[in-house]
């Protein structure tokens, strides 16, 4: 075994590195979006790429999201691998028609003769004090649209690995970047980056025996923190990071829940009609007789994303997760 020099890197740096490596490895990769060229994007994820690879590989578009995604569809139809950046979650909505009616359906519509190898990067979620329309968790929309892969990394290594996998995929991938993790750091070897992950697999981030926290993206660090805090209460929590919402890794999730017999789904997205309902329902379908308690959900409230000064009340925090764990019927009911 060789020892690799692990250096701290940010989530954002890992994404940039993934884009850079993809551009270098495959001439059919092109990046487009608002401000992705000269500026390097408002989050600087494409920083330096236009300078290094030229304006034709990483370029600014006019300000029109349907146009961005629609032209990217055309580029993919011609065999390129476009990587689109949407500036913020809510600003992807103008492109919804292109996404739902074309991106998701082109392969199916043409019996597989016209695949769309297209990555749509969307910074999503809250916790950064953004004003309205800058903190939406829009994954429920994409999950409900067959034909899309929906992927969201929660660690620095996954930021790299999953983005490489998304760009390499022959299917369209909605790649959701938890924007409040952009500046999170981890030890990571940028000179020997993690190999491309096989997409679609969840991973157990922390093993435990009392109950399973099922989560993804921005809520992973919160869940890990909650799991630490739970030790004080005598609970040994397992934490599963989904990484891919579509396809969904029933195997890993259900194996964990069968082991623990209890589960809480945690996400920032609103509860009603959000991802947690699907997850709770499918886990229950598959693990009913293993469950000691109903699968509970800790999620954002069913309200428009709050203004910055109130967002901390909205976001699922450690206490709210522990409250839910406490409600998992630890004592047999009468």
């Amino acid at each position: 075994m060789t020892t690799v020099a692990l250096k701290p890197a940010t989530f954002a740096q890992a994404l940039t590195r993934a884009l850079r490596d993809a551009l270098a490895d495959d001439p059919s990769v092109h990046i487009l979006g608002e401000d992705v060229g000269t500026l390097g994007g408002v989050f600087r994820i494409t920083d330096g790429l236009a300078a290094e690879f030229g304006d034709h590989r990483c370029f600014d578009t006019p300000l029109a999201e349907a146009g961005i995604l629609g032209t990217a569809v055309g580029m993919a139809m011609y065999g390129l691998r476009p990587v689109v950046e949407m500036q913020f979650d809510a600003f992807a909505y103008p492109a919804f028609e292109q996404l739902a009616s074309h991106v998701a359906k082109m392969r199916n519509r043409t019996r597989g003769t016209m695949p769309l190898p297209l990555t749509i990067r969307i910074p999503y979620g809250g916790g950064i004090g953004g004003v309205e329309h800058h903190s939406d968790s829009s994954e429920a929309y994409y999950m409900a649209t067959p034909g899309l892969h929906v992927v969201t990394p929660a660690t620095v290594a996954d930021a790299y690995g999953l983005l490489r996998a998304a760009i390499a995929s022959d299917d369209p991938v909605v790649f959701l970047e938890p924007k409040r993790l952009y500046w999170s750091k981890d030890s990571w070897n940028p000179d020997d980056p993690t190999p491309v992950e096989p997409a679609g697999r969840a991973v157990v981030r922390r093993t435990g025996r009392s109950a399973t926290l099922i989560t993804y993206g921005p809520s992973l660090p919160v869940c890990l923190e909650a799991a630490e805090a739970a030790r004080e209460e005598g609970w040994d929590l397992e934490v599963v990071d989904l990484r891919s919402l579509v396809p969904f890794d029933d195997e890993t999730v259900c194996a964990s829940v069968r082991r623990t017999g209890r589960a809480v789904v945690v996400h920032e997205s609103g509860s009603f009609g959000g991802p947690g309902g699907e997850i709770a329902a499918r886990v229950t379908e598959r693990c009913f007789h293993y469950l000691e308690a109903p699968v509970l959900r800790v999620a954002g409230f069913d309200i428009p994303y709050p203004p910055p000064m109130l967002e901390r009340h909205h976001l699922p925090g450690v206490d709210r997760i522990l409250d839910a764990v406490a409600r998992l019927q630890w004592e047999a009911e009468s």
Binding site: A64, G67, M77, G147, F248
Partner: protein, 380 residues
């Protein structure tokens, strides 16, 4: 810098960013639609081209009537006829080189067929056995776009991609007058103009979007006047004059190929049939209007030109028609066969690899089909 400090710098000048910009004049359409047939310009037209256009028009009309008939026999779920608009459909297909791409809207199966796609494949969507019937890459014909105008940005992206790859490819995208109101129309034209992408936008202004007349769709002097707002040329053409449509499109394609960027072409035409077989056009337009347009029929215009110039005779006309009848008979016959379908295909092309979830659903359907077959077997 405070207001106070800035005072000294006063220079009463025009805004610094202001430079004389592109001259808008050449981008504006002529006041009258371009016409060739029945005008002195017709003498310049290539007789062979005129003849080819004529053959395709006759076939096209016959194709339209045949497809409409197939809806009555329940062989097509629905058919949006392009009767009256054949000049646009045919010219759009013929003006392109083999390597070029066509982006049809839902009404444009005739252009698709004229480009060489098997009519049965072209009609697959409307028969209902699958969505797109042909392989788009094999024919360089994009799927029929039902959501209006959404195909226009695709054409721009594809043309841009071809340029990025150094390929000499032009994309021609078709849209209706109603479709020009959609945001995607605007975004596509703007992207094309900024990128100077080799795209030709052909608007078939047939006077209606289902029941909504052009006057409720736009207040513009013409749809071609939209071009100047994107900094590209707008051209206006008589959409029933096949020679004129071909000429205007040909110039636009050449311009695009030469790196001159996109062009917006408005072809003024008319939808003789109802919106689709399911529509009742008498609710929103008069017979007189339709009759007036029948007098400006694209087939007649060209046939008269050819006849008057001795480029075709009665026997020649009859031969073309016979040929079209044969095509129609063959199409009818093939469409009368039930397509063979495998319901399990539903799961095959959602992703490159079906997800575990889809495999599960596929197995369920398979079991159901088996049970069904067994029951039927038992009943027999």
């Amino acid at each position: 810098m405070t207001v106070m400090e800035q005072r000294g710098a006063y220079r009463p000048s025009p805004p610094p960013a202001w430079q004389p910009r592109t001259d808008p004049a050449p981008l504006l359409p002529d006041p009258e639609p371009c016409r060739v047939l029945g005008t002195p310009a017709a003498a310049q037209a290539d007789p062979e081209l005129l003849h080819r256009l004529y053959v395709k028009l006759v076939h096209g009309r016959r194709y339209n009537t045949q497809a409409t008939a197939l809806t009555k026999q329940g062989r097509l779920a629905v058919y949006p006829s392009s009767t009256g608009q054949e000049a646009c459909e045919v010219a759009a297909a013929l003006v392109l080189a083999d390597r070029d791409w066509l982006f049809p809207s839902y009404r444009d199966t005739l252009a698709v067929v004229t480009r060489g796609v098997d009519p049965v494949e072209a009609l697959t969507l409307l028969r209902g056995d699958w969505h797109t019937g042909w392989d788009p890459c094999a024919h360089r014909v994009a799927p029929l776009s039902t959501p209006l105008s959404t195909q226009l940005p695709h054409a721009v992206g594809l043309a841009h991609a071809a340029r990025l790859k150094g390929d000499d490819v032009v994309a021609l995208a078709m849209v209706g007058d109603g479709g020009t109101s959609e945001g995607d129309f605007h975004e596509a034209l703007n992207f094309a103009a900024v990128w100077q992408a080799p795209v030709v936008f052909l608007v078939q202004n047939n006077g209606f979007a289902i029941s909504v007349p052009l006057s409720k769709q736009t207040a513009a002097p013409s749809l071609a006047h939209k071009a100047v707002g994107y900094g590209i040329p707008g051209r206006l053409v008589d959409g029933n004059d096949a020679a004129a449509v071909h000429e205007v499109l040909r110039d636009a394609v050449r311009r695009a190929r030469a790196g001159g960027g996109p062009t917006l072409v408005e072809a003024v035409t008319y939808r003789i049939d109802a919106h689709t077989n399911a529509d009742d056009a008498t609710r929103y337009r008069t017979d007189d209007e339709v009759e007036a347009w029948r007098g400006h029929d694209p087939l007649q215009l060209l046939e008269r030109e050819l006849t008057e110039r001795g480029l075709i005779d009665e026997a020649g006309i009859a031969a073309v028609r016979e040929d079209a009848e044969t095509m129609a008979a063959r199409l009818r016959e093939r469409m009368n066969q039930d397509p063979v379908l495998d319901p399990l295909d539903l799961f095959e092309h959602v992703y490159a690899e079906p997800t575990p979830q889809l495999r599960e659903q596929q197995r369920m359907l398979q079991a159901e089909l088996q049970a069904e077959a067994e029951e039927e077997g038992a009943a027999r």
